[in-house]
Amino acid sequence: MSQSYNRGLIEDFGRWREFSAGMWAWIFHKFTGWVLVGYLFTHIAVLSTSIPASAGETVVYEGTQVDVYTGTIVALESLLVVRILEVGLLAVAVFHILNGLRLLFVDLGIGLESQDKSFYASLILTGAITVASVPTFIAGAF
């Protein structure tokens, strides 16, 4: 019997340079989706501090006594990393939303011929929105 050579997964992914618009869109959408789920879990975890807060638990923040929830949020928000991460989150969310809309149109069979253009449009718009919102996000961090 003849054997055959299976080039395996490594090679498949080694081909990323050759990917076309639709494939990049797919990869980005996947990535952003996963980031968003990850965030959803963290988000709820952080927000959960409102449970003890409602029970009256407090912490000391910059000398003042505040409830745990407010304390945690304010502490986090004052960190530059968190602010930067938030900008990233925005970018991720905006891309996921825009590309998600693009996918919804594709599902409805609308504009299939310009699917690559709408992907590039999503990318550019994401960039623009993210840049435009940086001031708002950074505000008060320093």
Partner: protein, 124 residues
């Protein structure tokens, strides 16, 4: 692959729900972001403010619905992505139930949080 499959519409239903929740999320997520980052800035968030919003029943229900749709959309998305990569058999069952369990934890914790603000103590 040659065998015939019985009608398996579950895939289709989940697929449709993924789109429906997506359409819903576009609106709610935009609203959420806008409210919490542009109307109220992130560093102004306090327990009291959240509490004030949550005490409105419409806002509370919207957030609960938001939580459920986002959880479904996100977790189903992750599950789908894994299935697309050829996840099958027992591994797949394991992943599925892990995801379900994680979702349940998330939902319970989320609802409890919302309740804490809204001042409901009845559910959990």
């Amino acid at each position: 692959m040659a065998e015939h499959y019985s009608s398996f519409t579950k895939g289709g239903r989940l697929w449709l729900w993924q789109r429906i929740t997506a359409a819903f999320l576009v609106v709610v997520l935009a609203f959420h972001f806008f409210l919490l980052h542009f109307v109220y800035h992130a560093d102004e968030v306090t327990f009291a403010l959240s509490q004030a919003r949550m005490e409105t029943l419409t806002y509370y229900s919207l957030m609960i619905l938001f939580l459920f749709t986002a959880t479904f959309h996100g977790v189903n998305g992750v599950y789908n992505a894994l299935v697309n990569q050829g996840l099958t058999g027992t591994k797949r069952q394991a992943v599925k139930w892990t995801l379900v369990a994680a979702s349940v934890v998330l939902l319970v914790q989320g609802v409890r949080t919302a309740n804490a603000w809204a001042g409901f103590t009845t559910f959990f």
